[in-house]
């Protein structure tokens, strides 16, 4: 990583500051005595070469005037006191650029939203506040350093971990964008769980067909490398430059495996989910004959026979029990419980019911559910299943159904609040437990990547709405069911979204990041390592060569400054918000 940061030495030189106070056509000057502010600055600030009040700072003419001033007066620092920086900071930074002034040598002080408008009728108060803000801005630019966006070369390739539909979809997108893709799959075949599914409503297509469709799109693309039987061993580096070691097990006898090293700019984790396995005895699973899980049923439906037969038993009546392994009560005894809803199961179960109704005559299915969560248009599927011979009965968390053997059939006793919890017995040939999704048991990989997981055990994004595919490790992205339970379409969406983010990292050969990152003053650092503990992004490390000093990897730093607050010696600081800058601003604001 080459950081093109240049520090100009400004010591000994006299700052040449331009200050522009805006009237905003009266919006400011009605309650802030702009003329007085200008006079006070002129009086008290000898380094302010130019102090002007303008009707509209943001007007084109005013900007041109500022550019002229900067060039003619060789101004090296500018303060603009106007409206909220949210509105025009970018405008004035651009102006500075056009005047060949480093845009970070400009400070935009707010004297409208936070002065004139906030203190109407209090001209004195508003004026003194505005004046303080302008003085603080001057103090800031005095100690400001020119900053450049951090530029970093990136490797033009992305590693995708997991060859299920999420991994495949992300690979297609990236490959078509011209990004090199390396896909690592642990098992011998691609497709993950979807490859095992039968017909999926409402798509009217089977799992293997879905996988084939995606694999076909990848075939013949010369910038994609797929490694099956491969696992990630270790990784190092940062956004733009990750180095990942992968162990590939060979199919041919002889050499058992080989280890390869991949260099990638970003990593997409698409490792999928595990199906919930009910413990022995949960709703008679493993103890009552004829109690199976939904995936078992799906496999049994795959053979295309005319009659529904399961392990020699002709099925005429069956019961689905929902929320097995999902929406469980919080464990009092600290035992294992999945509190979350697995999202896909209601839809998956009703879809299988529809398949059964369509393929076999006169099969009755009792659906014992807690809330039917056939969201969106899946509601139609629920309706169709009901009309096709499915009976839906709601049961309460506190009264789960009981499953027992009854001759060669199963007897299910349930209590439904819809009929005042009177117990009802139904005799069925098969009980299907609609099992949910669980986070993939993948300890080795989790140790290697050290990605944070949420309370539900799935990988955690930084923010579900702002940064939905990014993790605490900049450049490592998550997608698909590794992040949360999802259906096929939603999984494809999140995979493509991760691909977009990865592409934005690696498409350009050079990454541009905001310059507001942490840096360490080695003289002051005493290796307390508080900052390392504080940083959630792993951007800080202790470097032995420098004599045990902390060092920041700018590409990993997000610029929150959490490390700044905890450093006992003040050695670690944030560019653009240095301790010096802040302290001098505080002093001016207090005047």
């Amino acid at each position: 990583m080459k950081c093109r940061q240049e520090f100009k030495l400004t010591e000994g030189k006299k700052e040449r500051i331009g200050v522009y106070v805006c009237h905003c056509g009266g919006n400011i000057s009605d309650y802030v005595d702009v003329k007085k502010v200008v006079e006070e600055i002129k009086k008290g600030e000898p380094n302010a070469i130019i102090v002007k009040d303008l009707m509209f700072d943001c007007a084109d003419a005013s900007q041109s005037e500022m550019i002229e001033d900067i060039k003619a007066q060789k101004l090296d620092r500018v303060v603009v006191a106007a409206c909220s920086p949210k509105l025009h900071e970018a405008t004035f930074r651009n102006m500075a650029k056009r005047a060949d002034l480093n845009p970070y040598m400009l400070y935009h002080a707010d004297i409208r939203e936070q002065s004139s408008w906030a203190h109407e009728g209090d001209m004195e108060g508003a004026t003194s506040k505005a004046l303080a803000h302008v003085r603080a801005a001057i103090a800031y630019v005095k100690s400001a350093e020119p900053l450049e966006k951090i530029k970093s070369e990136t490797t033009h390739s992305v590693l995708i971990i997991g060859g299920g539909i999420a991994g495949l979809r992300a690979a297609i997108d990236l490959s078509r964008m011209g990004v090199n893709v390396m896909l690592v799959e642990r098992s011998p075949a691609l497709g993950g769980h979807v490859a095992e599914l039968g017909e999926i409503y409402p798509y009217y297509t089977s799992g293997p067909e879905i996988v084939k469709g995606l694999v076909d799109e990848l075939k013949g693309r010369d910038n994609v490398a797929i490694y099956t039987n491969a696992t990630v061993m270790s990784y190092s580096g940062y956004l733009g430059k990750f180095e990942v070691k992968v162990k590939v097990t060979h199919r041919q006898p002889g050499s058992e495996y080989s280890e390869i090293t991949l260099h990638v700019g970003s990593i997409i984790v698409a490792t999928g989910f595990d199906t919930y396995r009910p413990p022995k005895g949960e709703y008679g699973y493993g103890t009552v004959k004829g109690v199976v899980t939904l995936p078992d049923l799906v496999k049994a439906l795959g053979d295309g026979s005319k009659e529904l037969i399961y392990e020699g038993r002709r099925i005429r009546e069956m019961a689905f029990i929902y929320c097995v392994g999902s929406r469980q009560k919080p464990p009092e005894d600290g035992g294992h419980a999945n509190l979350y809803c697995s999202r896909y199961c209601c839809n998956a179960a009703t879809s299988q019911a529809l398949t059964i109704h369509r393929r076999f005559n006169n099969v009755k299915i009792y659906h014992l559910y807690r809330d039917m969560r056939t969201y969106g248009r899946n509601e139609l599927m629920y309706e169709d299943a009901a009309k096709g011979g499915s009976i839906f009965i709601r049961f309460d968390e506190d009264h789960p159904p009981l499953v027992a053997e009854d001759g060669d059939r199963c007897r299910v006793t349930f209590w439904s609040s819809l009929i005042e919890n009177q117990p009802v017995d139904i005799l069925v040939d098969l009980v299907v437990l609609v099992t949910g999704m669980e986070p993939r048991q993948n300890e080795e990989l989790n140790r290697t990547l050290s990605l944070p997981a949420g309370s539900d055990g799935f990988y955690k994004e930084i923010h579900p709405k702002l940064r939905p595919v990014e993790t605490n490790i900049t450049g490592v992205l998550i997608s698909g069911t590794a992040q949360a339970p999802r259906d096929v379409r939603e999984t494809l969406s999140s995979a493509s979204a991760a691909a977009a983010k990865a592409a934005s990292f690696v498409l350009k050969n050079e990454l541009e990041l905001d310059p507001f990152v942490a840096f360490v003053n080695p003289q002051a650092c005493e290796a307390h390592q508080e900052c390392i503990k504080e940083c959630p992004y792993g951007a800080i490390e202790l470097v032995e060569e420098l004599g045990k000093k902390a060092r920041v990897t700018s590409a990993k730093c997000k610029g929150c400054g959490a490390c700044v607050a905890v450093c006992p010696t003040g050695a670690i600081q944030l560019k653009g918000y240095t301790n010096m800058e802040i302290k001098s601003m505080i002093e001016e604001l207090a005047r």
Partner: protein, 394 residues
């Protein structure tokens, strides 16, 4: 959960569907039907719970519930059902089911068959009609073609004998049904059967008379269904009014006919001579007016059904038609008979008499299995339901 589990009958839904619960499976138990029902109250839950019972195959719960009969089939529920599950139809189908189940063993399957098979229904109607026809062909007296001698053609006491025999059978069937219904709807309810029964005797009687007056005589519940039509004009056009005309017309005719049986000397002697009864004679007048009401009501009801103007009449079964059509026919043939009699057209009179008697015969034979059955079951159900409420609140 100490209760013994109820057994579910997985075939019940199909049975109800065959009886007209056209879309019962579509229901997702949201309760809108109950919420909009003008008659549902905190104590009686329908139609939603009835539908849930049906979906779950809990037929005994259905038969045990008097609530089934509280419904007046106004159609509000079907109009507002978000799944278009037509709850009103299911309620209707469940009543058909109940009628068949309350009937004595042999009649039970007969009634199920006439609901389920249109062909069977037609054939049985024809066969039933053959009985009076054969009887008339075999028993009729001399045919006087010069002047109308009705009771020479078919002696009145024959009519009485046949009528009484038929009446006893029908009454038996109905009493059986009522008894079974009473048994099913009240079992498990303390205070109805076994101990404490007699203790509430007077209260029961009070409730019974209340029921009789409110629900049978003025049919307050049905009027509630038309709660939006408060003006007299609307009332006259309402279902309630149609129903009242049919009801009172029928009762009126029942009374006149019964009086004819009970005091034959008062009427039959002058009748034998044909022309001696003046139209103003009270019983005669009652008969005429009742007939008018009946013809009016039946016609209106049929028009409603033909127009399918309202949801409540948009799904109609053979048995629904049968009762209405027979009612109308009975009325029309009755009046035609009188006209033929007055214009002194002997052959026409004899023919119309035959037809009239066949229609009336049919009407009585099928009564326990058609919509007429509700005339017996509904008041009982309302009474039981009131009594239940009383028990629950005390």
């Amino acid at each position: 959960m100490a209760d013994k589990p109820i057994k579910s009958d997985p075939g019940f839904v199909d049975e109800v569907k065959a009886l007209g619960g056209i879309n019962v499976e579509a229901c997702f138990n949201c309760g809108t039907c109950t919420a909009v029902c003008p008659l549902s109250s905190g104590a009686s839950s329908f139609p939603r719970k009835m539908i849930t019972y049906t979906q779950l195959g809990l037929k005994d719960k259905v038969l045990e519930s008097p609530d089934l009969w509280l419904c007046n089939y106004c159609g509000e529920c079907s109009k507002s059902c978000p799944r278009e599950a037509a709850p009103a139809e299911t309620m209707m189908a469940l009543r058909r089911y109940a009628i068949s189940q309350y009937a004595p063993p042999g009649f039970s399957s007969f009634s199920r068959m006439i609901y389920r098979s249109r062909a069977f229904a037609w054939i049985s109607m024809i066969l039933i009609s053959l009985i009076p026809l054969v009887l008339m062909l075999g028993l009729h007296g001399p045919i006087n073609s010069s002047s109308v001698l009705m009771f020479t053609f078919f002696p009145e006491h024959y009519i009485d004998y046949i009528g009484i025999t038929l009446g006893v059978i029908i009454l038996g069937v109905m009493l059986y049904g009522l008894g079974k219904m009473y048994y099913m709807t009240t079992r498990g309810m303390s205070g109805f059967q076994g101990e404490g029964h007699s203790a509430n005797g007077i209260k029961w009687l009070q409730e019974f008379t209340k029921t009789l007056f409110k629900e049978v005589f003025i049919q307050k519940r049905l009027d509630q269904c038309n709660e939006n039509s408060k003006g007299w004009r609307e009332r006259l056009n309402s279902e309630w009014f149609t129903h009242m005309t049919i009801f009172w017309g029928f009762i009126g005719l029942l009374i006149t006919t019964s009086l004819g049986f009970l005091i034959p000397s008062a009427i039959s002697v002058p009748l034998t001579n044909g022309l001696y009864i003046p139209v103003t004679e009270p019983i005669r007048l009652l008969g005429t007016l009742s007939g008018l009401l009946l013809v009016y009501g039946a016609t209106r009801a049929i028009i409603n059904r033909v127009n399918k103007s309202e949801i409540y009449s948009s799904h109609t079964y053979f048995t629904d038609w049968a009762f209405l059509v027979l009612l109308l026919l009975a009325g029309l043939t009755g009046y035609s008979l009188e006209i033929a009699y007055y214009v002194n057209s002997p052959l026409l009179t004899y023919a119309l008499l035959t037809v009239h008697l066949i229609v009336v015969f049919d009407l009585f034979v099928v009564a326990p299995f058609t919509k007429f059955a509700h005339a017996l079951y509904r008041p009982l159900a309302i009474w039981v339901s009131r009594a239940r409420q009383y028990i629950e609140t005390t």
